[in-house]
Every structure is written in structure tokens, then in C-alpha cells.
């Protein structure tokens, strides 16, 4: 195996195969996340959710995909055509790029990741911030007041919550001492008789809380889905999009949801370590649970008003995140000397 890696051509072959594989895995995961969300939301509202297409409605996404693909790809008049077409592509590209550095598991000697970058988490943040361009540019190019309003809201919201999101994770890095996702997952402690990896949420519960709130806002999900607020803004930046371009936005949204859930698992729940459960399966179980948390939040809370959204971001989460960093720093110095 290592010989293939050392050979330059073999290395590239492995990387390309891994990327293709990941593309399929993540796309399938996205499809079933949508299914999972619809079923879970249905259950919360005491409905069965999709159950017509295939067993348990599992083929629903295939049906939806075919429907969306065959819809007319309509470009409204007086739009900025280039940007209008480019915007959803940016969204999908950004959403997929984050997966380059996400490690899925370490099973025996096989590593389930594409690139093991020593600043992995920074890359994810850098790339996922690009998502705001997709929304702002899409809103601007649509030549529609609702789209523009949605885009503007999104810009303000994403910038506000990005800070809290970043700061929420700083204590984790301080404890682990590395930005490499693999190191964060493999962080081991020796607590009395126990020696092994721990879910970091035990050490940074407040960080997790801020992370999950900010991440919900980052991915434009209810209760922070102001950019697309159906009731006020028709569909926000999505108003003028249809067919495949709409599908791309839709895909990007769910990809981002999976990405932040995965990141939560990696950073706070010990990644692929779970008792005796095989690594990749353990990882999958954890991601599904975090996804359920997201859906649960969506099924529970109503959308925030815009000013309360801003107040929560700037006056609550940001100071809390900063305090969290400072307190963690003090505790770390006190413990480690």
C-alpha cells in the first residue's frame, strides 16, 4: 500500500479514485439526509413522511431528482446571466471542497480521507465561508427584490455567526494543540485507570453549544433560515431559481448540513471512536445522531426575527465564545502549569 503512495502516478490514481468514491458517498448521503429529515420531521408532527416511492419511501429522492432534472431550466429576463448561473455552482463547489480534509475513519491500516492537512479545520472554515458568495451573488443576479433581500440578510447573518463559530472551536484547539482533524479525534487522556480517546464535549460543553447554534445559522437552517424565509421573502435568494440550478442550491444546503454535523462529531464526539463499534460505522452512527439533533431543532423552534438574530449573534454568542476561550486558557495554564 505504501509503495503505491510513494509512486507519484500511483499516488494520484489513489487520490482520484478516493475523490470519485467520496463524491458518490457524499451525494448518496445527501439524498438520504433529505429522506431522513422528511421522515423525522414527519414523525415530530405525527405524520409518516414520504412512504410512497420504494420501501419506506427510500426512493423518494430518486423521484425528486428526476423531477428536478427534467424541469425547465429557466433564466428570467434582465438577470446578470453569468453570475446567475455561476452562483449555485459556487455553492456546490464550496460544499464539496470541505470534504477534502474531513477524515471519516481509520480502520486498521486503511485511512478513509483524501488529504490529511495540518490546518484541516481552517480549510473547512475557509471553504464553507464561500457559501455566502453563492447566496449573495445569487440574490443579486436574480434581479428580484426578494432575492436581493435574502442575499443581504444572508451576508449579514453569515458574517455575524462565523465569528462565534470560529471562536467556539478555539478552546478545542487549545486543549488538543493541533488544527489537524485527525489529531483532534485521536486526542487521548489518562484519567485514572482510563487511557484512551474521549469525546471533547466533556471538556468544552459551552463550545459545543455555541458551535451547534452558530452552525445552524451558518447553514441557513431553521430557526435561522432568514435568507430563504418563505413567509416573508417568498424564497429569498432561491426565488428565481428552478430546475437544476435550484437543485444545486438544495444540494449545497444539505451538503453543508452534513459537513457541520460531521465536524461536530469530529470535534466534540470523538470521531470514529466508540467503544467496540467498528470505526466507520461508529462515525456514521454519530453523524446520524447529530443530524437528528439538527432536524429536531428545525422541528421545534420558530424562525427568529432579524434583530433578535443579530442580538443573539453579537451580544450573546460572541461574548460567550470569548469568555469560553479565556476561561479555558486560564484553566489550561492552571492545570498544565
Amino acid at each position: 500500500m505504501s509503495q503505491i503512495y510513494n509512486d507519484p502516478i500511483g499516488h494520484w490514481v489513489v487520490v482520484v479514485v478516493a475523490m470519485t468514491l467520496l463524491l458518490f458517498v457524499v451525494l448518496t448521503a445527501t439524498a438520504y439526509t433529505v429522506w431522513f429529515e422528511r421522515v423525522a420531521l414527519g414523525r415530530i408532527q405525527r405524520r409518516p413522511g414520504p412512504n410512497r416511492v420504494g420501501p419506506f419511501g427510500l426512493m423518494q429522492l430518486a423521484a425528486d431528482g428526476v423531477k428536478l432534472a427534467f424541469k425547465e431550466s429557466f433564466i428570467p429576463e434582465k438577470t446578470d446571466r453569468i453570475i446567475y448561473v455561476l452562483a449555485p455552482t459556487i455553492g456546490v463547489a464550496a460544499a464539496f471542497l470541505a470534504w477534502v480534509v474531513i477524515p471519516i475513519g481509520l480502520w486498521g491500516n486503511v485511512q478513509y480521507w483524501i488529504a490529511d492537512v495540518n490546518v484541516g479545520i481552517l480549510i473547512i472554515f475557509a471553504v464553507s465561508s464561500l457559501n455566502v458568495y453563492a447566496i449573495v451573488l445569487g440574490g443579486y443576479a436574480s434581479n428580484n427584490k426578494y432575492s436581493l433581500l435574502g442575499g443581504l440578510r444572508s451576508a449579514a447573518q453569515l458574517i455575524s455567526y462565523e465569528m462565534a463559530l470560529g471562536l467556539a472551536l478555539v478552546p478545542t484547539f487549545m486543549i488538543v494543540g493541533s488544527l489537524r482533524l485527525r489529531d483532534i479525534v485521536a486526542y487521548t487522556v489518562s484519567w485514572g485507570p482510563y487511557h484512551g480517546p474521549i469525546p471533547l464535549i466533556l471538556l468544552t460543553p459551552i463550545g459545543f453549544l455555541i458551535y451547534i447554534i452558530s452552525a445552524t445559522a451558518e447553514t441557513n437552517r431553521t430557526p435561522f433560515d432568514l435568507p430563504e424565509a418563505e413567509q416573508e421573502l417568498i424564497g429569498g435568494f432561491l426565488t428565481e431559481y428552478s430546475g437544476l440550478k435550484f437543485t444545486m442550491y438544495y444540494l449545497a444546503e444539505y451538503l453543508n448540513v452534513i459537513t457541520v454535523s460531521t465536524l461536530a462529531v469530529l470535534l466534540f464526539f470523538g470521531g470514529w471512536y466508540l467503544w467496540v463499534v467498528p470505526p466507520v460505522i461508529a462515525f456514521l452512527i454519530k453523524v446520524v445522531l447529530v443530524l437528528f439533533l439538527y432536524i429536531w431543532l428545525r422541528g421545534t423552534f420558530p424562525r427568529l426575527r432579524y434583530d433578535t438574530l443579530m442580538r443573539l449573534g453579537w451580544k450573546v454568542l460572541l461574548p460567550l465564545a470569548m469568555a469560553n476561550v479565556i476561561v479555558t486558557a486560564i484553566v489550561l495554564v492552571a492545570v498544565q502549569g
Partner: protein
């Protein structure tokens, strides 16, 4: 908290109570998740309809096969939206369609206009027209919604027929000799 709503300025609530409210919400949705689903699986299961549900119309016949409708047009007169068209013709001994003097040569109901009020049923002196239980009346063209006599004379669903038979409504006009009302 509800009794404080009368105050002009609501008391600033503590962070703890806000968080408690959020937790209550989450708890509620989580318990709902594990309660049974209440949906009726529509095309397979249907919600029960009342006995007197007003769905599509039927024209009834007597047991001997004669049509009940006597072409009096009272249904058409009673109809608030004018969706019933009746053109009557005389019964003759060679061509006896209904027991009375006249019968409906044409009987059409425009189901697109019909509001299913049931006034036609009420107006009919011979209980010829009744509204049955069917409500799934969608079709593929406007023409198909004009129900002609042939379609309206289709036999009623068994249970509806049995119910009407049990009622045994009195007959308001003389029957041909030897005939018994049903």
C-alpha cells in the same frame, strides 16, 4: 407566565427561564416523535363518511326497471347553480320509460357547476335523484363532467340502495296498475 400578559411591559425574563422554555419545546417535540402517526393513508384507507354524505348523483329505478324520473324539472328549478338540464318526453304504451305521464328524455348534470347542496334530491317528488357517497370525481376533460342520463342511471352502491329501501318513502303519485312502490 400567562397571567403576566396583562402588564404593559412584560417583565424581562431571566436567561434561565428562556432556556427552560427552549428545553420544554424540545421535550415536547421529542415525545411527539414517539407517539403513533395519525395520518390516514388515503387511497388505501378512507375516513368514514356520514350516511347522508352528498357526493355524485344517481337516478333511481323501480324494481321492475322503470325509471323513477317523471321529467317534472323540479330539480332543475330548485338547483341554485342551474347545473341540471331536463328535457321531458311523453310516455306511450309502446315506449314506457317511467310510470307517470312523462319521462326525462335528456337528463344531464354538469358536475363542474354542481355545488352538491342536495336541493335536487329534496325537490324531487318521486325520489328519483339522490346524491350518493362517491366524492372522487376527477376526470381528464371538461366534457366528461357532464353526466348524462346513462351515467346517472348506474346502479347505486349496495349499502345506499339498502338504506333507501329501508326508508320506504311514500309514493306521491299513482302507480300503474299492479306496480308496487319500492
Amino acid at each position: 407566565m400567562a397571567d403576566e400578559e396583562t402588564d404593559e411591559k412584560p417583565k424581562p425574563q431571566s436567561v434561565a427561564s428562556d432556556v427552560a422554555a427552549l428545553v420544554t419545546g424540545l421535550k415536547t417535540t421529542l415525545t411527539e416523535t414517539f407517539r403513533p402517526v395519525v395520518t390516514t393513508m388515503y387511497p388505501e384507507d378512507k375516513t368514514p363518511r356520514s350516511e347522508r354524505y352528498r357526493g355524485r348523483h344517481y337516478l333511481r329505478r323501480y324494481d321492475n326497471g322503470l325509471e323513477r324520473c317523471i321529467g317534472c324539472e323540479l330539480c332543475a328549478a330548485a338547483c341554485p347553480v342551474g347545473c341540471i338540464l331536463v328535457i321531458a318526453a311523453e310516455n306511450t304504451d309502446e315506449n314506457r320509460v317511467s310510470p307517470g305521464e312523462r319521462y326525462a328524455k335528456t337528463y344531464e348534470i354538469n358536475m363542474l357547476r354542481c355545488i352538491f347542496c342536495g336541493y335536487c334530491e329534496e325537490a324531487c317528488p318521486v325520489q328519483a335523484i339522490v346524491l350518493g357517497p362517491e366524492y372522487e370525481l376527477s376526470d381528464t376533460s371538461r366534457e366528461k363532467f357532464i353526466y348524462n342520463k346513462e351515467k346517472l342511471l348506474e346502479p347505486l352502491p349496495r349499502d345506499v340502495q339498502a338504506r333507501l329501501d329501508a326508508k320506504g318513502a311514500p309514493h306521491p303519485h299513482p302507480l300503474p296498475s299492479g306496480e308496487r312502490d319500492t
